[in-house]
Symmetry: C2
Subunit: 206 residues, 2 copies
């Protein structure tokens, strides 16, 4: 199967594409040959967009999200509630929460979660700068919105311990059955958690 490529340049490009998550050799070949059929300017546009992003991307000095400016538009927005910080793992999560249009505070991007198995320790994450933001005394509430995994829970607990000395409210996003999900197909841990964390019904399910 390794000798099926009639060109080493083609093989190299396919190999690079195959490193991307969810892209196998077959898809990689299709994508590469698609690019090969395009004009040189178009392929240059593709190639340079990627490397330019890597070389020139800036990160917000407040929340560590990607930004074109030193302070990102969310952190720079005076209409956002700066006393409410939502802690997330990565930039995708900022975009995901923004898309809900349910959050008017600001963010803090950790850059991952604590994972001894993958060699990620607290010092690899933007945890200290979160503590510093809290230490300034203007933050009232931290919402922990990390993955519902062992690593996410570990990180939640680590931040909880680090913030104990500060007068700040700490909350986690609700775990429960997804909207549209049927009860019988929900895993028992989630279902159990959603029963323990039941709330008064005031006529609104959402």
């Amino acid at each position: 199967m390794n000798q099926e490529y009639p060109s080493t340049l083609l093989e190299r490009a396919v190999k690079e594409f195959s490193k991307l998550p969810g892209i196998g050799r077959k898809t990689a070949t299709r994508l590469v040959l698609h690019l090969l059929r395009k004009k040189e300017e178009e392929v240059e546009g593709f190639s340079s967009a990627i490397i330019t992003l890597k070389r020139e991307a800036k990160y917000c000095k407040e929340c560590h999200s990607i930004s074109d400016t030193d302070i990102c538009p969310i952190c720079a927005n005076p209409l956002r509630d700066h006393s409410l910080i939502c802690v997330v793992e990565n930039i995708q999560d900022v975009m995901a929460v923004e898309n809900t249009m349910q959050f008017r505070g600001v963010y803090h991007v950790l850059g991952g979660v604590i994972s001894p198995m993958d060699g990620v320790s607290p010092s690899d994450l933007h945890i200290n700068s979160l503590i510093e933001r809290v230490a300034k005394g203007e933050v009232k509430e931290i919402i922990l919105a990390l993955s519902s995994t062992m690593e996410g829970d570990t990180t939640n607990f680590y931040i909880y311990r680090k913030l104990q000395q500060y007068d700040v409210k700490l909350s986690v996003i609700a775990r429960g059955i997804s909207i549209g999900d049927e009860l019988e197909y929900t895993d028992e841990v989630t279902l159990g958690s959603s029963i323990i964390n039941r709330r008064p019904f005031t006529g609104k399910t959402l």
Copy 2:
């Protein structure tokens, strides 16, 4: 939805990725942010593999398949049957036929099929060079292995007309039910064609 990207560099990279077939904005974002987490050398490797392929790829002077050399390894191989040419649309198809290990002849890559709707006329394809190969008098059989579409059929017919003056056998690959397919789920045109093109049963189904 268009303003969800916190960085124009990020948005530009996502836009470029979204142009690839089968890649939507969500997948594009995931791939781009994956690359952003990699080291600069790795991203450079990815980026340069693509543009180098586009700039430096060579095509075989005989069959027009991609190649590192003027004549591709298949065309240069004296053990392949040079009197038997398999005509395909593109490089993927060469790889697909090679993977079957059922073909010991050589190839001819047209670079597409005749499609007036997409503005592809016979002169845009490597049809003349196919005729030239036949005109040399050493080719005994041409196997047409194009897509089973109106455009593929049109191209088959065009080549058939062009080759009528030459003493060369012309064949098309068999259409029929796929191996492993159940009859009741096969479309009626394919099934009808497979009945018309039935062959004597000699104890082997393959």
